[in-house]
Symmetry: D2
Subunit: 366 residues, 4 copies
């Protein structure tokens, strides 16, 4: 594959540029008989949609997804599911200047050198707009995982700049524009965003993803470990620069005696591993964290070079998020769900016959 | 694939258990005409070999690799390269107790539940011994990258416990048993290891990998980003719990104006991005960091369950590293090299015709 | 992948049912900078379009393809190309009876058992309508191969029932509704079709595909032989039951001394091999033949079973081709072109450095 | 992948040259808990082994296979299975002349041009010797299919030159050196072979493969049709130039009313389709036929060119089969079994939840 497909048995292939005619994807390998409608996908699409709050780009997109195939009489047929979102607000007029420049921190320069030229309209294929279809595809996976295994895949903003947010309450996450899991931190985030708007600057963020009720046994040892595929999936999201599973980089200063998660007949006593051992799910919650870089689309003037290699000054005008981490929350959920779904199918493909005589250990003691 | 293959055009498929007959791999897609001999691979194999210092497992393995195919008259033929290492020091007698127990922090329990039973001898397929063949395959990639592109893929131990090690000197790395890049830190590492030995405990570590002279343009946008595949590759190494590209998790508290790497005709002024933008190499050094968890094979007694699900006590006897991070250094280099090699071939497969009119920007100003 | 993607470096993924909202595909891995427009694709789409002659189904479809991404300012960008054709003439009303029955020779029964239910409208995903997107994707490959390598991929109807058609004249192929390469055979084909219409029956056919100017060296030995992938590609076309490369089944009664193609400095003296030796192109024309079964959509009444497994009688009403082989001509070209394109990119990915000191032998002596 | 791997969930990757150190393969994705020993593989290896009769090459090879991993206490573990056969009879001394020449009908020229040079010893990677590992891997698949589904995969020589052989008796197949299914034809085959030996010439052959008891529902629609993957698998065998499913090329002159296989509650009334409809198994026997070209390794002198492109004369001395079709029988079985196994796992990966309310139709009426 040439890089626009993710997954082995449950595969997602996407297309579309920021200001092209449409975005779309093909979801292949979805089991048949799953109730599915555009509404199921729209819920998550609306969560990542631009213009939903004064803190995200004001670009106006309804992001209305259509299912073009693979669903018959309200159920998936087992054949490939085609989906499309037509771009409305294209504004492709005002690119006169930016097309000559390489914005620092952007993919402008690398695309130019890789392909010899680039679609400069809104970043073309490198725009975060591409992630809309990941969210649509992820919603299919989330629905299946929930329905067949009771798996809940949820994410939240766990840090923005120096404001750390603990997971106080899942319900709170959907009740504020920051996907903040601690109501007491909303004002701090609000203040931080306002300052950034003033400065015309941006900030990084940390997003945490948790999948509850993942059964033991998913993931392939060696290269296609569940955690390795999760790392691949999450690092493939625009602006992500780091991925952790469980304790992640805290492990560097941990001892074996404190890190290891004790097994008891009543359940695991801790989850430093983040729900994966030897690349295979343990039956505990699968926990991952990602680091998002601050967007480079800022109005603070910067030095750069133009397409002739001469120095130039750049200011990114237009409609941009001071923190792309916010809208990454539903995207991270989607990529986690797609990865779990793929491994669900792969696991049973190879191991449907298996019966273990060892009882399953609960995620934690009652 | 079922998880034992990595790569798309340049592929590595491995087999072998810790105490099985042999370990082996097949390297497919290597360009023809590259001078290659077992000696080329042995150098790196010896760097990761157990028993090389009093700080790593005392298991005695010559780890002598044989090339079985794909090389003719000293040159690669373009066909698949088969390699094998026969296990010598198997010691499979003394597993009476461990076969009944699930060691906390190990893959024992997840293998048992996934497959219904497991090869308990030394961890079977989940043993770090599997990584020997990654190192052998990586050596092929390193040789090609060096020869054709002058690429240097090197790693070092950047932290162990609370001892941080900066990159002072690449030459120092090979002159101490810790792959420590700062001679002044060797005593501290030495002391830390001695304490751990006394306690029968282990410690985590951080390893940093740097690839110099990677040309601009490698990596596919969207899912197969160069950094996403690097994250996949590195997270697939035993005990790795986190991966960073460039500034990684430091980005969370950075502003856009400080993170973005300024382009000038003379070169990039910084490398916060770690050599990748939009999933494509920038021409700067590709920089990654990994977090290694402390090994769970420690003599500190622990609580656990046995294969019947009843509680039990476990003590891991035998020959184990207090810090698996040390031997991870050549493994991390190998996985980085394999990933770069794959993208080298993929890039030219699609883009061999491309000529960019934009001059290449140097990694940094002279 | 789950079966809706073809190719490794140049990949085509399709979706869509006969009477669904739309058909579509994603072409991934196309090199950048190739001039491409919907018109380029429409030419071949019109060649396979239903209703073009009184000999093919009278279903009315404009089959108007739209390019939704991957093309900017008239050139491919190197990113994924999304295409869609919206279904117009859906007629989904009159399926009352057929939904209860399994038509003999159709995929009705196998879909029902594989997926538990099926989209019965016009055969759903199993309809030859799916091939429209193959033709669109193949047109991209044909354009690239022609432009970069001067490769001409053409097919013709070489037999229908007992009427054999030799390749007399490539120009003639496009000048009759049968893709017949011998003007003298048109009347015979015409008569055969008229009889079949009367009888309400159908007939099989043989289609031959020829790719001229394929350079030496494309194709991977062992499993991904060029001819093996061509066989995969062609056998994946609806109703194809046999594939031959070069002399095909004639080889069974050939001696080695007659089969082998003699090499001379001036050129090969014959092409029994069909342009492939050891799975690698020889530089001669790549020649393949396919056998198409007679369509089972006929008005001759037949015995069958219904979805409850009880016996029933079936008569397929509506608009169907007496010979699906006719419209298979552009589809066979498309699949051959897609396969060649994929191997073109794969070959240079691995072997771009290669220089052979042996002069290239011409396809045939001047 | 670069062509040495076959399959998606159940994958086989091979290496090795005719006169290299060893041949080997890795079987990945095999379900755990299957009893497996080297003896299971040796049975089929001995069936294809050179030197088994005076009609096949007299090269002496014990072809003793070793299992290096993936099997523990006599059962597959679910991890990758490594296997190796060390070459004994290498005779690499006497290649002085052939290394300068391209034998017509051989892969010598294409390898030279693709890779820039070649391993000329016994054909290197292009030798049929490579197929030994396919047979070993196929034996794993055959055992699983037999044990779990009662599937019987068998092949026989159905034609050699003008001697046609019908399937009279499966037991007869193993009781003669030709895999001949009709005892009355053995003398004719014997005579034909003796003549060819005298002439120093070779002859083509047709081999038929039948898989009984394949359940309904295996195979993916569109590109990864069961029959398309079978065509890929069989066409990838050295010297194969044609593949048919069911009636194959006979379909060209069939009418729809005669070709379609009638379904009745008691069973299918015929099997023109060869057990596949719409790319999915029907529950009938899967039937395929392959055309093998006559080997080009003959002592009849031939015209050719040398590595400098100058004309030359060639005579292939040494130990060769007058009919490679004979030894292709176990190889064809192996490739059919590997393909079925892969689709078995893929099918249940996606469709394990499916329950069809339609009763299964027997392969044929009692």
């Amino acid at each position: 594959m040439s890089g626009n497909t993710f997954g082995k048995l449950f595969t997602v292939t996407t297309f579309g540029e920021s200001h092209g005619v449409a975005l779309g994807c093909i979801v292949d390998g979805c089991p048949p008989g799953i109730e599915l409608s555009a509404e199921d996908l729209q819920i998550d699409l609306d969560r990542r949609k631009p213009g939903t709050s004064r803190y995200t780009t004001q670009r106006r997109e309804s992001d209305e997804v259509q299912i073009l195939s693979g669903v018959f009489e309200g159920k998936t047929t087992g054949t490939s599911i085609g989906m499309v979102i037509f771009n409305k607000d294209q504004r492709s007029q005002d690119y006169g200047k930016i097309k000559e420049l390489f914005r620092p921190g952007h993919a402008d320069y690398t695309y130019q050198q890789k392909y010899g030229f680039r679609d400069y309209r809104g970043g073309g294929r490198s725009s975060a707009r591409e992630t809309a279809m990941r969210v649509a595809a992820g919603a299919v996976a989330k629905k299946y995982l929930k329905q067949k295994h009771g798996i809940e895949v949820r994410a939240y903003l766990s840090q923005m700049g120096d404001v750390k947010v603990d997971l106080k309450d899942w319900d709170a996450v959907e009740q504020n524009p920051f996907f903040c899991a601690d109501p007491d931190k909303i004002d701090a985030l609000d203040a931080l965003m306002r300052d950034l708007k003033k400065q015309g600057d941006s900030i990084g963020a940390k997003v945490s993803v948790v999948a509850d009720n993942v059964p033991v046994g998913w993931g392939e040892p060696v290269f296609d470990r569940l955690d390795a595929d999760i790392a691949h999936a999450l690092m493939s999201i625009n602006a992500v620069k780091g991925v952790e599973i469980g304790d992640g980089f805290e492990c560097v200063n941990q001892k074996g005696s404190e890190h290891r998660d004790v097994l008891t007949p009543e359940g695991f006593l801790s989850n430093h591993a983040g729900g994966v051992l030897g690349g295979i799910s343990t039956g505990q919650s699968v926990v991952a964290h990602i680091a998002m870089k601050p967007t480079s689309s800022i109005t603070v003037p910067g030095e750069t070079v133009d397409i002739n290699g001469d120095s130039a000054e750049v200011i990114t005008k237009g409609r941009h998020d001071p923190c792309v981490g916010i809208r990454a929350v539903p995207i991270a959920e989607a990529m986690m769900a797609i990865t779990l779904m793929d491994h669900c199918l792969r696991h049973r493909g190879q191991n449907a016959d298996v019966q273990s005589t060892t009882p399953v250990i609960p995620a934690q003691p009652k």
